[in-house]
């Protein structure tokens, strides 16, 4: 087994100064959502960290997650992390294809048995193995085979994490999440449609720097990013508190940047870091562009009522059943009154 260089060595070889390294560590702390006071520890950890092997599997997905990651416009610093990892299999990105690619995967698995990371985007169809295959291997089989020797699995995107759009009602392919199939390895969910690139890199960075997996919430998501709701960190929150709401997409409130709750914003129930991390190299996030949060990082977001239905709306049926209830009420009332009158008549007769 060849000796992989430490990250410190990689950087030194690239002629990066200590100041540059400090800058890199500060940025890493930012990515990991760690306080700046942690920078010295990060520096120490990174200097001695070794490149892990990463296998990326893509199942029922749209490649949006990969796009999100590769289009992430901070190649230099975050790119360093990818320099620092060994992405040994990614059928969209790698030059090799077919048997060659599969051979690369098997080689990486053997070489790093028990220590590699598996990244998955896309959900896995259980309805019929033929719904989605790679090199003739069904998604389930490939996942099981690849995960067997992994240190951990990272589900990238809502499809891998929760079933996502393939798993939406009526779920024709019987799509399931990675977590539903992999139960004997740590599974880290990085949901979002797509997930924030920085969150993906953060998980890798933590694994790389500290060799540990991040602290997770109940849904297996890194708490550092999914610990608070969009609503909690939304810059429009004060408008919510003041009761100022946009009523439509082109009214005064919308133009004045008021809260989008009434337009169906799912911010209050969506745990993600968009409001602070933002998108497109920190340009903005959907609410900042005037659109309510869809809640894409939440399980079943596609089926949670209409995107533009306010969160506090009840799911009522038509008025017909209510009218039915009213009629039933009248019937019961008439029956009760009749019973009461009968008793009165009976008691009157008995004296």
């Amino acid at each position: 087994m060849k000796r992989t260089p430490t990250v410190g060595e990689v950087l030194q070889a690239k002629g990066v100064s200590r100041r540059g390294f400090l800058k890199y560590c500060a940025t890493t702390a930012s990515i990991l959502a760690l306080p700046p006071s942690m920078i010295p520890r990060i520096a120490e950890a990174i200097e001695n960290a070794r490149r892990p092997s990463v296998i990326w599997l893509s199942f029922q997905e749209c490649t949006g997650c990969t796009e999100s990651l590769t289009r992430s416009a901070s190649p230099t610093v975050e790119g360093l992390i990818f320099d620092a990892i060994s992405l040994d299999y990614h059928h969209t990105l790698q030059a090799a294809a077919g048997d060659q690619a599969e051979a690369a995967r098997h080689a990486a698995m053997e070489e790093n048995d028990g220590g590699y990371l598996v990244l998955v985007d896309g959900s896995i169809p259980l309805g019929n193995p033929g719904f989605s295959t790679i090199a003739g291997i069904s998604n389930v089989d490939m996942l099981k085979e690849t995960v067997a020797g992994a240190a951990a699995v990272v589900s990238i995107g809502s499809c891998a994490a929760f079933g996502g759009i393939p798993g939406a009602d009526p779920n024709p392919t019987g799509a399931v999440s990675v977590g539903e199939l992999v139960t004997d390895k740590p599974v880290i969910n990085v949901p979002g449609c797509p997930p924030i690139p920085m969150v993906m890199t953060a998980v890798l960075t933590q694994f790389l720097t500290f060799g540990t997996l991040p602290e997770l919430d109940k849904l297996g998501r890194p708490l550092a990013f999914y610990g608070k709701t969009i609503h909690d960190r939304c810059y429009r929150r004060p408008f919510y508190e003041q009761g100022k709401f946009a009523e439509s997409f082109d009214d005064k409130g919308a133009k004045a940047g008021w809260c989008l709750f009434k337009l169906g914003c799912k911010g209050p129930m969506t745990y993600n870091a968009c409001a602070t991390t933002k998108w497109n190299s920190g340009t903005s996030f959907p609410i900042e562009s005037g659109h309510p949060c869809l809640g894409c990082s939440e399980p079943g977001f596609w089926d949670l009522g209409g995107f533009y239905e306010p969160l506090s709306t009840g799911n009522f049926d038509s008025g017909e059943k209510l009218a039915g209830a009213a009629v039933a009420g009248v019937a019961l009332g008439v029956a009760a009154a009749a019973a009461g009158r009968r008793r009165q008549a009976k008691f009157t007769k008995e004296g």
């Binding site: 129930m269 306010p310 009522f316 039933a328 009332g333 009158r341």
Partner: protein, 217 residues
């Protein structure tokens, strides 16, 4: 189906059916009992006008009773106004109503709503303490009184906890809140909370009976 879906869907629906059916059941069950004939020559006009008058005037305490009933009256007012604010003037609630009424009305800022909710809870607890300690109330209170108190306070408390969170997820809290509301709606027609609609009947009845006598109402 997760908890929130259950709360917003079947739980609320069933609660709404029971609320509507129970309310009508109780009202019809009362109204269709035998009528009391009234042949005496009226001194003044009774009728609907008198009913409406007393429905309004009985909202205020007559001067002679003010000193003795001041404390519970203030508490009751604070609780009812607080409840009203929270239920009908909190914007997400207005949207809830808009969802099936089809129209909305202006709400109040959350800070004021929060204040109203806290005031309602505080006065609710003060009323409970009074019920538990006042000899008259201890004697005349029954299960209905305590249960109705509990089931009214629950949605208030769970609602106020949503922004506080206490480590529980928003949608879980929201679901619990909605379920407590459903419980309240289910109980409302049957126990003393029925006063939300019976108050119009009792006050109205007294208005019609005593106004036509020209007597004090």
């Amino acid at each position: 189906m997760d908890l929130l879906e259950f709360a917003r869907g079947p739980a609320l629906q069933v609660a709404a059916y029971i609320l509507v059916a129970g309310t009508i059941w109780r009202l019809v069950g009362i109204i269709l009992l035998k009528e009391k004939p009234e042949f005496s020559e009226p001194r003044a006009r009774g009728g609907l006008g008198a009913a409406l008058k007393v429905i309004y005037t009985r909202s205020f305490t007559a001067d002679p009773f003010k000193p003795a009933t001041l404390y519970p009256k203030i508490l009751a007012y604070v609780m009812h106004i607080g409840l009203f604010m929270v239920v009908f003037l909190f914007v997400p609630h207005i949207m809830f109503f808009e969802g099936f009424l089809g129209f909305d009305w202006p709400g109040l800022p959350n800070s004021i709503i929060f204040f109203g909710g806290v005031a309602a809870i505080v006065s609710g607890f003060a009323l409970l303490v009074r019920r538990l300690t006042h000899p008259v109330l201890r004697l005349i209170s029954n299960f209905d009184d305590y249960f109705s108190w509990f089931i009214t306070m629950l949605p208030l408390a769970t609602g106020l906890l949503i922004p506080v969170r206490l480590g529980v997820r928003y949608e879980t809290l929201l679901a619990i809140h909605i379920i407590t509301v459903a419980a309240l709606l289910i109980w409302l027609p049957f126990g003393k909370l029925g006063h939300t609609f019976l108050v119009f009947v009792t006050r109205g009845t007294t208005g019609m009976v005593f106004e036509r006598r020209g007597a004090k109402t």
